[in-house]
Symmetry: C2
């Protein structure tokens, strides 16, 4: 088995190795491969991964930088990233390169499973085409399926072991074979009727989350305007039939803010502009939340008896999610940059980022103690100089449904 | 205790009587009062109500047509309807009349609790004003609180007994006294910090539902366009962190389609037009679903080898929700009327409506057997002449979260 892998490939590979199945992980980063083969885990923040890599790295989990060295493998699982471009259209270049390279070593009878979340129709569309073109084989001579990742950064190992996973084939036999393969190492695996359905399932999970975060953000703004404690109301409103999410500075990361565009752009290509209105509104609303927080922060500045430009603002938390060292589409970063652009005296701190990493982002790093105003981007709470010692962040946050998919 | 009551007041009154507390229910409908006092239940579709009314009607549950006859009562619970006008603004006339009349018999030390869902700020706003004006008393001399209904038509009795209920006071003492009162007959009652929070809690539950139905409707349309079985995908997408709702012809009834407007219109009054964009979009999307179904039905007509105007279309299900005899804001009724307006040969059937009731709506009643096309407004399934004997409606429907609040 081979994993054409970004970081997440290692997670699945380790879980597979943990069931004593030989697995080869391919990654272009040679240093990372060497570390894995020495039993050193390159993603220490993933609970349980240390032990798996230490125990299996270089043994039944083998990392290689060149996928061509995995020619004897029969089952391929591909997890490479899919980004969107500046117009929110998917940029297939990484996927195309991975599949065209894989196509070159594809043999009759091989099975290929895509785990990357893609717009519905791609597995049995361009991906099948790339494989057929490069291998000279036709679907039926090889097998192709989609089984979307359902992990959550930090808890990926337990998710893979405990959370239901689905798989759908480009044809019936592909679905059957992929189910068989995954049953060997995934306890809760279910077959759906097609790769397209499997693709859609993952994308709509993300859409549910994006729209519900947008709803929480909108309700939060209304509650503030009406003088109501949103968190108190939310706690009482939520029950088995109601799940109002938490407000935020927006939604970041590689997943949730990207998936709605998969559907929006596909429908636009089909001249169905009106039929993704809610997804688009939610997306815009989440992205525009930083405007709301800029206004709030400026109103806080008004309370400080100093010239406006001298009020020192500290933003706590720059990554796109608390506890995850990632900056992709981080709205906290966008908020900091927007404040700076307005000429405000803003600096940031983030326990996951070193000062030089913050400076690399074009921002100033300083301790919250030096600030006149502290805004915690994760808890959305304001603190002041004298409140710096106070641990900011409601216990509320820990009860947030954590399925953020990435 | 007195209940100034619409139908739902009887539900709460019966539950109170069931705990052996004397309760008086006031309703302008004299005949209904007489029936209740003879132990006859006017709402047979409510499970468990028959027995309560039979056992307590005319004894510890006394129905009266004139609230003035309840002068000795100390605790008042008000459940009268609040409608919206043609511009979606709340029409307070019924509430005003009820509270002004109640104000006239209010005595020092009395407690008034409003159960009707209202825009946040009303209990401690115009309602307090009406009571103060009519009674000559000030809050503090009497007590005022809000405890929103959380029942579901058909299952109201069990909801009152099992579902958590909240109460919030116009001031602290009012909250405390209302909590004390409700604790006598509601097992799960919680105090929130104000009447305004209690009002907001109920309204945002409805907003959550409306937005999530709109999301389901939008995802359904996308799935149809992409050739994906929405129901299969939804089943696999839903888990503890994802709750995609069911698609529909829209959202009807007195509650869900009304509550979002409470917030939208209040924010508009505050010149905050942009801050209810998601709620408004969801509302419009749900109301416009009938346009989508008109198109679908017309496409089905194309498959019939008859002149278009002669294709007999039967819509099954006219009420706003399956199993509930109510037509308020029924999108199914709106759909039937829209088809008729276009000149299509449409007739309807609904097991809860007699033929003359259907004709009263300006529609034709016929059996599905006579149709070329049958569209089931609840299950969204098409049937044909030959399929009439087939029970339409996926088992799916029974797994729908049923908290529709009304």
């Amino acid at each position: 088995m081979q994993l054409l892998s970004c970081q997440r490939g290692l997670l699945l590979a380790s879980v597979i190795a943990g069931t004593s199945i030989d697995v080869i992980g391919a990654d272009v980063d040679q240093k990372k491969c060497e570390a894995i083969n020495q039993g050193i885990n390159p993603i220490p923040e993933e609970a349980g991964l240390d032990e798996l890599v230490r125990r299996h790295g270089g043994k039944c989990l083998l990392a290689i930088p060149r996928y061509e060295d995995a020619r004897e493998v029969k089952d391929f699982i591909v997890i490479v990233p899919l980004f969107i471009d500046e117009n929110c259209n998917p940029d297939y270049s990484i996927l195309e390169s991975a599949f065209r390279n894989l196509g070159k070593i594809l043999k009759p009878g091989d099975l290929v499973v895509l785990e990357t979340t893609v717009p519905p129709g791609n597995t049995d569309g361009r991906i099948r085409d790339w494989l057929e073109e490069e291998s000279g084989l036709k679907l039926g001579q090889f097998y192709l399926a989609h089984s979307p990742e359902r992990i959550m950064t930090g808890l990926s190992i337990s998710r893979l072991r405990e959370f239901p996973k689905i798989v759908g084939g480009a044809d019936e036999e592909s679905g059957r074979r992929a189910l068989q393969l995954y049953s060997r190492f995934i306890p809760h695996i279910q077959l759906v009727s097609s790769a397209r359905v499997a693709e859609f399932v993952k994308v709509i999970e993300g859409c549910y989350r994006d729209v519900n975060v947008a709803l929480a953000n909108e309700l939060y703004k209304i509650a503030e305007e009406l003088g109501i404690d949103f968190y108190e109301a939310r706690e009482k409103a939520n029950h088995q039939y109601c799940s109002i999410h938490l407000p935020s500075t927006g939604v970041g990361g590689h997943c949730i803010p990207v998936y709605p565009w998969f559907l929006v752009k596909e429908m636009e290509r089909r001249e169905r502009f009106e039929e993704t209105r809610l997804l688009r509104t939610a997306r815009e609303l989440n992205d525009e939340m930083i405007l709301y927080w800029v206004e709030k922060i400026i109103l806080e500045c008004l309370k400080i008896d100093k010239p406006f430009k001298d009020v020192k603002i500290c933003l706590k938390g720059m990554t796109y999610r608390e506890g995850v060292k990632g900056l992709y589409h981080s709205r906290n970063l966008a908020l900091a940059r927007m404040l700076r652009k307005k000429g405000l005296s803003v600096f940031v701190c983030d326990e996951l980022l070193a000062d030089n990493e913050i400076e690399y982002l074009g921002l100033k790093a300083k301790k919250p103690e030096d600030a006149d105003i502290i805004f915690d981007c994760f808890s959305l709470r304001f603190g002041r100089e004298e409140a710096c010692a106070i641990k900011i962040g409601p216990s509320e946050l820990s009860s947030q449904p954590l399925m953020k998919s990435c």
